[in-house]
């Protein structure tokens, strides 16, 4: 039996049917890590011993009937900005290079309770600030489809690990596209749920009003199963929502007859790679053939999403990252005689260039005299963007578009021009501003052999519509993956 071909849900079924042991599943992931990790660098930390030990514990609980769920025994990788008790958690930053949390993030606890086996922590852009995983203090991650290209970011390690079979699924976080864009670049499924669906407790904050945890996985069935487990109200996150509709696997139906898809013309204009455009529109055609009603419309305000986002995200980041001061945990600069000098030296030495850039911008837009002109203005524009989506969802069930303007860029080509890099977030970012759910599903491969993803966006709390449509599309599209493209 070729374990590498299996999805998470298929693997757990095989484990329950005693065709595979949990240890064999974990060893399959560890073997893939041994084979490819040296060049790909998907992980900051691999906990080989811990995972094997846990495999045996989980096996016992499956055997005695304690664990029966769809993720029991499945090896998972966790983005390195989610706290894991006793396991190094760096946010891919030097400033947290030695941080071992004393508690575990709520989403990770839910996975553990479901019997998933944590393999380790995945590489990311430092503090999730970046779109390529190149701002990590622990080296770049390479795209498994073509190692000369980036995996996307900021959850690039998670996306690459799933694509390369170095885990069966992974958790990522999405503040402006950080799950959906790397999933698209690596040819896997990625979903950002409605804001408040998954607890942020234990997720090291970047932009608190935008951050959401979500799955990166091999197919839509896995996506629904994982989301069902990690979603849920948590009193420790004051923005966590009480929802009674989190039975997401019930939405896995092959039926889009009569569902209305809106295609924003503004998402298909200048800057969009022609191959990406053709592939995404072909996905819409396929859904049309399955009975969906497809219509073009003007979403409006698309060009204002990026400046509004970077103002708000930078402001929140400058506040959230004040806690890294060299006192309670993490890196401390040496030989500082006085407290304030220590703060400044520690932060200056501990943070990388992109993080400092955003902290500086955030401090500026929040400063006296500029707060109204920049920060409040951005919050007003956010309200207008939310309204534009409300109008769209009064007419459409789902908005369909690309996940990113291009396929994965070459390594080393993105960081010298930050604004150019920010523009790559144009199709994902407004989803975070409006708190909406979004999913990306692979829809093709370009002439360079790099994957393309189609993004489906839903109204708040309408994950089920997205999952139903994504599932129907996936069935119509047929098999997709690194191992299925003859590589």
């Amino acid at each position: 039996m070729d374990l590498a071909q299996m999805t998470a849900v298929e693997l757990s079924a095989a484990i329950r049917e005693k065709k595979v042991t949990v240890r064999e599943a974990v060893e399959a992931s560890l073997d893939a890590i041994a084979k490819r990790e040296e060049s790909l660098n998907c992980y900051v930390t691999v906990d080989r011993e811990g995972a094997l030990q846990r495999a045996d514990e989980v096996q016992k609980k499956i055997d005695d009937g304690t664990l029966t769920g769809p993720l029991a025994g499945v090896p998972v990788a966790v983005k390195d900005n989610m706290c894991t008790k006793g396991m190094l958690t760096t946010c891919s930053s030097k400033i947290l290079g030695n941080f071992v949390p004393t508690f575990t993030a709520d989403a990770v606890i839910r996975l553990e309770e479901a019997g998933a086996v944590i393999l380790g922590k995945t590489n990311m852009d430092e503090f999730a600030m970046g779109s390529t995983t190149e701002t990590s203090a622990y080296g770049v991650t390479r795209n498994p489809w073509n190692e000369g290209h980036v995996p996307g970011g900021s959850s690039g390690g998670s996306a690459a690990a799933v694509a390369a079979g170095e885990c069966f699924f992974a958790l990522g976080s999405d503040t402006g596209g950080s799950i959906r864009q790397p999933a698209s670049f690596c040819g896997v499924v990625g979903m950002k749920p409605t804001y408040g669906t998954v607890s942020r407790y234990g997720l090291i904050a970047y932009g608190s009003s935008l951050d959401q945890i979500g799955p990166l996985c091999k197919d839509v069935t896995d996506c629904a199963a994982i989301l069902e487990i990690i979603a849920g109200h948590d009193p420790k996150d004051s923005t966590s929502m009480k929802r009674d509709d989190t039975d997401f696997t019930s939405a896995l139906q092959e039926d889009v007859a009569g569902m209305k898809i809106g295609i924003p013309r503004d998402y298909f204009g200048e800057g969009l790679d022609p191959e990406v455009k053709a592939s995404v529109l072909a996905a819409a055609e396929l859904l049309k053939a399955k009975g969906a009603v497809v219509e073009e419309f003007d979403l409006s305000l698309v060009d204002y999403a990026i400046p509004a986002y970077y103002t708000i995200a930078a402001a929140e980041a400058s506040s959230n990252l004040e806690r890294f001061d060299g006192i309670k945990y993490g890196y401390r600069a040496e030989d500082c005689e006085e407290l304030h000098k220590m703060y400044k030296k520690t932060r200056s030495q501990g943070f990388g260039a992109e993080v400092k850039r955003r902290i500086m911008l955030g401090s500026f837009v929040l400063s006296s005299g500029y707060y109204d002109a920049y920060y409040l203005k951005a919050l007003r524009v956010k309200a207008l963007i939310k309204k534009a989506f409300d109008d769209a969802f009064s007419r459409y069930d789902v908005i369909l578009g690309p996940a990113a303007p291009t396929t994965a860029p070459e390594l080393g080509k993105s960081l010298q021009d930050p604004i150019q890099m920010y523009l790559g977030d144009i199709y994902t970012i407004s989803v975070n501003l409006a708190g909406l759910p979004g999913i990306t599903v692979p829809c093709g491969v370009d002439s360079k052999g790099l994957p393309i993803g189609v993004q489906l966006i839903g109204d708040c709390f309408r994950e089920k519509k997205l999952l139903r449509m994504a599932y129907t599309y996936e069935k119509a599209r047929g098999p997709f993956g690194l191992d299925k493209e003859g590589r």
Partner: protein, 97 residues
Amino acid sequence: MANIISDETIEYVGILAKLELSDEEKEQAKKDMGRMLDYIDKLGELDTTGVEPMSHVFPVENVFREDVVTNGDTREELLTNAPGEKDGMFMVPRTFE
């Protein structure tokens, strides 16, 4: 570039951000911030008169709980992460003369 960031501004923002930038980093920060603000100025094209700033997409209310301690004493555990520790407390450099 429409937004010219002065040395004084960068110095002030550095204080707010608690960052100590080298001269080279300061020059770069001036350029970066100027370009970014030029870009953000695009928001000015939109008339937002009468639009309330939206800090949160859903109506949020204060979350209250009973004032009861639920977590245990984790002082020892927490201090293992501290760069400086003495007598069960965080140790910091001198704060005043």
